[in-house]
């Protein structure tokens, strides 16, 4: 038994959960969705164990390379989903979100991602690593849920307009309000973890809280997109389609900050 076995078990459990969810989508049996949720919860606990194991084994926070941080992002996604599901009982979001989580897990286990636990370079040896990365990724996990519910909104909305909405489908209005609630949780977390903690740590390590490094700039861009979402919605009363599109762009910007910047743009954040 070791961390990679636990990771593999988690991966398989998530796939089984997705299987139950999709059978729920097809059969409409509430019981399949309930089983799916329990299976995700089990997977989440195994995943938690895997992360703890990794932390003990490597002696540092479990998000210092791409494999680790992807695994943590998938964990945050599962957590965000479990919270949203218990709170709002939106079973139909489950299958799609599980696909994203499984995609992230698959990416993490791909041979392209170095998964070897390496000793921490000097700049990363700080408790700010914990605060900065975990809070940011948790915020992004809620953006991921908003992304899924926004896409579902667009589909539901166009079906309702054409009058071909299926019996028992979640109303577009509910999807719209869940998207907003996810952004309302994700935005403060992202601000705190990504921007505030990021600035504090940058100041502690580099002597400057802001240097327009591409990763910093892209997290600001992500932040601006969600600020736009909130202002158009709260002040100008935008709802529905336009809101959903902004939330989708926001999540894509967050993902570009997370992946794209590392591979396409060089900068100070070159190690993560």
């Amino acid at each position: 038994m070791n961390e990679s076995t636990l990771f593999l078990i988690t991966f398989i459990v998530y796939i089984i959960a997705a299987f139950f969810y999709f059978s729920f989508l097809l059969s409409k049996k509430e019981s399949s969705a309930k089983t799916g949720l329990s299976v995700v919860t089990v997977g989440f606990f195994v995943h938690t164990l895997a992360l703890i194991w990794r932390t003990i084994e490597s002696g540092h926070a479990p998000f210092t390379n791409m494999y680790e941080s992807l695994s943590f992002l998938a964990w945050s996604g599962a957590l965000a989903y479990i919270i949203i599901e218990y709170k709002y009982k939106i079973r139909k979001v489950g299958p799609y979100l599980m696909l994203i989580i499984i995609g992230i897990m698959a990416l993490a286990s791909s041979p392209l991602m170095p998964d070897e636990a390496t000793p921490l370079m000097p700049a990363l040896q700080s408790y700010w690593l914990w605060l900065h990365v975990s809070v940011t990724l948790l915020g992004e996990a809620f953006f991921a849920v908003a992304f899924v519910t926004s896409i579902m909104y667009l589909v539901a909305d166009s079906r309702e307009k054409k009058g071909i909405a299926k019996e028992g489908a979640i109303s577009s209005e509910k999807l719209d309000s869940i998207s907003y609630r996810c952004v309302a949780v994700g935005f403060p977390l992202f601000t705190l973890g990504g921007l505030v903690f990021g600035m504090v740590w940058a100041y502690k390590a580099w002597g400057t809280y802001w240097s327009w490094d591409p990763k910093e700039t892209w997290s600001l861009i992500t932040w601006f997109v969600f600020a736009l979402y909130l202002h158009t919605r709260i002040v100008m009363g935008w709802k529905g389609r336009r809101s959903a599109l902004i939330a989708i762009i926001g999540f894509l910007a967050a993902m570009f900050t997370y992946f794209g910047v590392n591979y396409l743009l060089a900068g100070l954040h070159s190690y993560a």
Binding site: P122, A184, V196, Y203, A205, I221, H231, I234
Partner: protein
């Protein structure tokens, strides 16, 4: 004067528009994206090679240093003004709502609310009011009351600070922007490369920095774990503060912060190991450890030689020896050889190419000079920064987070009541209002009213 006021008010109207804020957010976002796609602060040649004809335009529009360009700064200033005016124009109705709320509500408006109830209570007005207040207080509501046309008006509210959440966020952002401006005008950074035992005057300050000790810690696999420098600040010739700094743990003295940034070797004036051998008799040789300008005397052969110039990364550029970099990729030293005060030979010798020496002999000399090794002093790379704006940033971040918390997690709720005396009984009309937590208010409202109806 009149036209000036009209002009001013139209400027304020322009700046108070949320549409402007949205347009500015979009423009600033797009500009920021462009700044990450076009590499910043490169040489003109690089831009020409990359973008050809339009490179000149890019440089003229300062897109090559976009985040510090005049137009980007202008956008940020306009955005700040926009935030100030937007916040201020929306503040006074909120302040009135919080501190001088209108208690004169109409029955009709209350009944038009989504969350509302109208019923009759089997107690007189005075008792009903007392019971109702008790219920509201136990649910942590604060109550204001007034009388109008013989009816009692009650306004019960909680989490009223929530309505100021967005204003506090904006205040935080402004403080951060002000901090940024202060940083960009009076912030100051410099690199100090300092070797053990060295004392360096710190640029733009009254004090000196001394490196007492420097060490590199390694992991078992040989990777660098940490760099530690023990620094002493010397002011007025007296040591004031000594601290060991490492990455992530800087030293602060009078607003100047010293960071451990890296390690390096000083290749400008290293110790050069030069070996001279007599070609006709290889058993006769000498080894010298020289710094530039130092002289080595080889008594047996009655020779003297000196190292005059050192280039860490030798290259010939238009007949002129140059160094390509400060890294020792191709170290070369220029030496001169004397006998009886007379130069007999001189030239470049190379550490990596011992056979490629370019000694120009004044007379046929029977000596071979080899550049065997170099030892450079290790220095600790310290970065010093003084940034008076940074405290504004932290205060601004504090307001930002408090504001976000209030805006999202401290939803204001209020319940309005009209109590009318109807011959020993009391007619009660009530309506609840909450912009951000309707569902929660609805269940709380039902709970309070149910409990109130049961009360005696």
């Amino acid at each position: 004067m009149k036209s000036f006021i009209r002009f001013l008010s139209s400027v304020i109207r322009f700046l108070s528009s949320v549409k402007l804020a949205i347009v500015l957010i979009i423009i600033i976002t797009i500009a920021s994206v462009i700044g990450t796609l076009i590499p910043q602060l490169r040489s003109a040649e690089e831009y020409l090679a990359r973008y050809g004809q339009i490179s000149e335009l890019l440089m003229q529009l300062e897109i090559t240093d976009l985040y510090h360009s005049w137009w980007f700064k202008a956008l940020l200033i306009l955005f700040s003004l926009n935030i100030v005016i937007c916040t201020l124009t929306r503040l006074s109705p909120k302040l009135r709502r919080a501190f001088k709320p209108n208690l004169e509500f109409e029955t009709q408006t209350l009944l038009a609310a989504k969350i509302q109830e109208r019923f009759s209570k089997n107690l007189n007005l005075e008792k009903s009011k007392r019971e109702l207040k008790k219920e509201l207080r136990s649910a942590h509501y604060r109550i204001k009351e007034t009388e109008k046309d013989g009816a009692v008006h009650l306004l019960a509210r909680k989490k009223i600070l929530g309505i100021f959440g967005s204003d506090i966020v904006h205040l935080g952002l402004l403080i951060i922007l002000i901090g940024g401006i202060i940083s960009s005008f009076s912030g100051f950074r410099t690199n100090i490369n300092i070797s053990e035992g060295e004392i360096v005057q710190v640029l733009n300050t009254e004090f000196k920095l001394q490196l007492d000790k420097f060490e590199t810690e390694y992991y078992p696999d040989g990777r660098v774990k940490d760099w530690k420098s023990t620094l002493t600040i010397i002011e007025d010739e007296t040591p004031r503060l000594t601290k060991t700094i490492e990455v992530n743990h800087p030293l602060t003295y009078k607003g100047h912060v010293f960071y451990q940034s890296d390690v390096g070797w000083n290749w400008r004036n290293p110790i050069l190991e030069i070996r001279a051998t007599k070609t006709s008799d290889p058993t006769s040789f000498t080894k010298a450890f020289l710094r530039l300008g130092e002289k080595e005397i080889w008594e047996e052969e009655n020779l003297e030689f000196t190292a005059l110039q050192f280039l860490p990364d030798f290259i010939i550029d238009g007949n002129q020896p140059m160094t390509r970099s400060l890294d020792p990729n191709n170290p070369a030293v220029f030496i001169e050889v004397y006998r009886n005060e007379e130069k007999i030979s001189s030239g470049w010798i190379f550490a990596k190419f011992p056979d490629f020496s370019q000694m120009h002999s004044e007379e046929e000399a029977d000596y071979k000079f080899e550049f065997k090794d170099i030892q450079a002093a290790q220095y600790s790379g310290i970065q010093m920064s003084k940034d008076p704006g940074v405290n504004f940033i932290w205060v601004g971040c504090g307001f930002l987070m408090i504001g976000l918390f209030l805006a999202f997690y401290w939803p204001t709720r209020d319940i309005r009541f009209i109590l009318k005396d109807t011959v020993g009984k009391t007619e009660i009309i009530s309506a609840g209002r909450s912009a951000k937590s309707k569902l929660a208010l609805e269940s709380e409202f039902t709970r309070i009213m149910t409990s109130f109806r049961r009360s005696q």
